[in-house]
Subunit: 344 residues, 2 copies
């Protein structure tokens, strides 16, 4: 367990850059007062923003760069223009150099993925990093991966994801043996994609010490929270995530419209406002903001680009937990167990 966790931050990333990053970091610091920050970006702007947050200022070291990656840059462009010198790259480099326990950026996903991979390299036998996110469920929260870092996956890649997702779950939920399911179109062993069926067989036979494989789960198990970790390849994972977001918005919009129809429904809304506020908080995407790149030699957290200070603070919280409870050690241990148990 690392003491005095230092988080490196791409201060220029996201739709709002410093305006979100600095108040977000200040919020996260209140929850973890021992935390320190390395902030990469425009020194003058960062200094000005820090003036309103004296505690954060005292905990922060600024590293100046005037190169930043735009939200529209393609990964190749971003690498050419920003390798070694952009705020995004430098935040990642600080993890590689051991100066920071984790890096956080709200910058564009493709660029962050490409830079993280080039700078940090992948861990153990992993070839492609994946993106794992917290998913609010009826039971609490689950971890779902891959949210779209990599399109397509063969059976052994799905097994790797299960192992890394379980490692993350051990840290986030503090369970010794988190439950893991493979997303499929039915729970029967005969259904679905061949790669998913093969991964299921491998996971069942491996019977890993820190991973309780529970078989197939379906799309509706995501909301139920049937397992701690749901594994799928990036195309399906991304579409499931966005479908759920879209459905939540659709229901909110239906409900809002229905509640506004008569004076009686309006009055009912006012009286039950506490309940609607509780629902809004429960589904607040800012509370589960911050997806973790798994499979790299170091911890990189991707924040939503459009989030606000509260959302960015959640991403820093996740970075803190992953660094403090040493996700990388857990992943390395579990990948070794996997190598011993799963035939190549």
């Amino acid at each position: 367990m690392a003491q005095n966790v230092c988080i490196s931050v791409d201060a220029m990333g996201g739709d709002h850059g410093i305006a979100t990053v600095i108040p977000g970091a200040a919020l996260a610091l209140e929850r973890h007062p021992q935390m320190r920050f390395l902030m990469f970006g425009d020194e003058q702007q960062i200094t000005a923003a820090l003036d309103k947050h004296p505690k954060l200022k005292a905990a922060t070291e600024i590293r100046h760069t005037d190169v930043s990656i735009s939200m529209a840059d393609k990964p190749g462009q971003a690498l050419r223009a920003g390798r070694g010198k952009s705020s995004m790259w430098m935040a990642i480099q600080a993890v590689k150099d051991g100066e920071a326990g984790a890096a956080v950026s709200a910058g564009n996903t493709g660029a962050l993925m490409a830079m993280s991979r080039m700078c940090l390299k992948t861990v153990g036998h992993i070839e492609r990093p994946v993106l794992a996110a917290l998913w609010p469920t009826q039971r609490g929260e689950s971890i779902v991966l891959d949210m779209g870092a990599t399109i397509g996956a063969d059976a052994s890649h799905l097994v790797d994801m299960a192992v890394m997702g379980a490692a993350m779950a051990r840290i986030v939920f503090n369970y010794e043996r988190p439950s893991v399911g493979l997303l499929n179109v039915g729970v029967e062993e005969v259904k679905g994609l061949e790669t998913v069926k093969e991964a299921s067989r491998l996971l069942r036979e491996a019977n890993l010490p820190n991973l309780d494989y529970r078989g197939f789960v379906e799309g509706d198990d995501l909301g139920k929270g049937s397992v701690d970790v749901v594994v799928t390849e990036g195309f399906t994972g991304n579409i499931a995530l966005k479908t759920a977001e879209g459905t939540a918005k659709q229901i909110s919009s239906f409900l809002k419209e229905a509640l506004g129809r008569t004076w009686m429904t309006k009055l009912g809304y006012l009286l039950a406002k506490q309940a609607f506020d509780a629902l809004r908080e429960k589904l607040d995407p800012r509370k589960s903001n911050g997806a973790v790149f798994l499979g790299l030699e170091g911890i990189v957290i991707k924040s939503h680009g459009g989030t606000d200070a509260l959302g960015f603070a959640s991403a820093i919280d996740i970075a803190y937990d992953m660094a403090h409870y040493d996700l990388m050690r857990t992943i390395r241990e579990m990948l070794e167990q996997e190598t011993a148990a799963v035939p190549a």
Copy 2:
């Protein structure tokens, strides 16, 4: 446009069989008084159930069989035990023989797919049937396919789905040129699966007269109703559908719990009950029950196995529309246009 549409019904299919099928058909008959029915199953039980519905009895011809397919039967089992003689097969056979304009079954999907394919064969150059469903959206309804009839699809199969989905949309929505989108992980042309990108190029170049191709859509576009028809292969489609269903249940359960917490929220709920009833009705899966197998030489409708009379009536309504407005002719015409416009 066919007059006096006759619908063939697998009276023994689904979790509740005749107990759902007969009152469901009676409901649908009220909306389409010219409709006639061919009911396949246990004559004695059907006759007994029809006694409560004299109008339906007058519009129904019963064809006896004592063989029915169980919900648990695998497709192979179902074919061996039920080919030629089960209520499911006989309902499909009536379409092939021209006795009925469409068949409806609440029986198991795998068996219905296998029997439909064997009995009716596929239409034109189509090799594999797909399952298209109505999806409630913020704008009204969209058609989404494939909901899981076939796992995996190459580019030309996705193009076929777009064409058949648009044909169905022309009938359901009565638009001359329905808008169509391909489900992907981003709207930029560079992102996503190769097969999806290739299908996009083919659809754009074909510029078909009855299909307004709008490019990629994402998971959250499903709830928005951004396009009339959303095309994806069956694995993703099934997971998107179940994820949306799960999210809707999750939100309902959160809301119910929050509204029950204090006397004030309970009172608010009572006053706003009208709004909650409206929401429940809007999201009622029974109203959009009934998925259409597209790609066969005839129309087969799959009802949810667990639905009630109201849901089964919706499935019959869809069958009626598809037969009455001649879906098969529209599909044949549009497949010919596709063959002329899209290079093999």
